[in-house]
Amino acid sequence: MKLSAGLPILGTLLAAAVGLSCADIAAPGRSDVYEWRFISSTDPGTTDTLSFHWPRSMLPVKIWVQDTLDFSNHVTHAIDVWKAAFLYREFDAVLVPDSSEADIIVIADSPAKLPAGAARLERSLAPECEGGTDIVPLPGSRTIQYPVRIFLLPRFDPATPGVSECLRLTATHELGHAMGIFTHSPVATDIMYVDPVVSELSDRDVGTIERAYHVQPNVSVPAH
């Protein structure tokens, strides 16, 4: 090889070596998360900690939405918001036209009507509307209630200012429960706060759902 011929190649390799010697990309700490698992007391002094996320084999999760009060748009927005929280396609969902094929059902009803014996997550209490999600398994069970039921209902005339916005953020909040965040955040700036007032996810919401989808769950979807 001619000596002069190799100089530009050596120069390029040197540039690459300099670049390689720089530190590689560093991941964020993701330490600011809240408890998302459902912790129930069983016997005195004993607790049962339940965690869940939709398995990749079931993605996209199928959601049926009652055709009322612009629910389709609200839930589509909620899906987009939660999907954007993930970097590695941990979650996806689509709307389906038939409730019989749905993994999650969104109903315009009061969360008060609860099947006997079923468990329910603490209700969302935004002022213009209310929501609830039935997903948590019965005590001793290791499967979620399936299909998951989300309830959304305005507290006033749907045309009242603020009701549509309330339904939208409550849909996002309840979908968070249906995805596996079984508890409420204690911080008001999180979408998973019990009385949500923000419309988008906080960094804590994002960190929490990421963590939930990278921890091995001990609750699964029942055979169906």
Binding site: D24, I25, P28, Y88, R89, H214
Partner: protein, 199 residues
């Protein structure tokens, strides 16, 4: 990025149309291997990497001194990309990369040439999601390569090419999510093609 795309689309045609007696031009088809794009850790390590990518390249060069040429090479690669966590792969979609390198070329032996250059590389995801939620990215690129060109036809040589390039990768979405710094990405490609005969 639009400039790079325009160059990628237009340059081959321009290169052919301006070809003159001493202009060298070629087209190659091969595969490109790339190292990790992102290394992350949520509860355990997560690696994101582009799969082996079919690559199409065009190049043109002009003599600038006895035995030396300057040229422009464009390459387009498309393949899937995936994340790996605990030995489990997740398909993240389709990723296209387009690169432009301004090269200096010279001889090594009778039918072998070296080349080295600087340029740009653009990442063009099929879908704005995940690490590309805020869109693709364009980065500076440094590359080098070796070509071997045995005669094939009266006016054409076979071209066997080995390429290496390097850039640092990140995206707006990774920045927004608190990632710091950038990832050094090395790529190696091997390809076969046709080049205008120098005889």
């Amino acid at each position: 990025m639009r400039v790079l795309l325009t160059l990628l689309c237009v340059w081959p045609a321009v290169g052919v149309s301006v070809a003159r007696a001493q202009t060298d031009y070629y087209a190659r088809l091969g595969v490109t291997f790339a190292t990790d794009l992102v290394t992350d850790n949520i509860t355990q390590d997560i690696i994101t990497q582009q799969s082996l990518a079919p690559t199409l390249a065009f190049g043109v060069s002009f003599p600038i001194a006895p035995a030396y040429s300057a040229g422009l090479e464009t390459a387009l690669s498309t393949s899937g990309y995936h994340s790996t966590e605990a030995d489990q792969d997740t398909d993240l979609g389709t990723l296209t990369t387009g690169s432009v390198l301004l090269n200096l070329e010279g001889p090594i032996l009778h039918r072998a040439n070296w080349r080295a250059g600087l340029g740009l590389i653009s990442y063009l995801p099929a879908e704005d999601s995940g690490i590309f939620l805020s869109g693709g990215t364009t980065r500076f690129l440094a590359g080098a390569g070796l070509d071997y060109r045995p005669p094939l036809l009266t006016h054409w040589d076979l071209m066997v090419s080995l390429r290496y390039d390097f850039h640092r990768f990140s995206t707006d979405q990774l920045d927004a999510r608190g990632f710091t710094g950038s990832q050094g990405v090395q790529r190696v490609s091997l390809s076969l093609g046709l080049a205008r005969a120098r005889r």
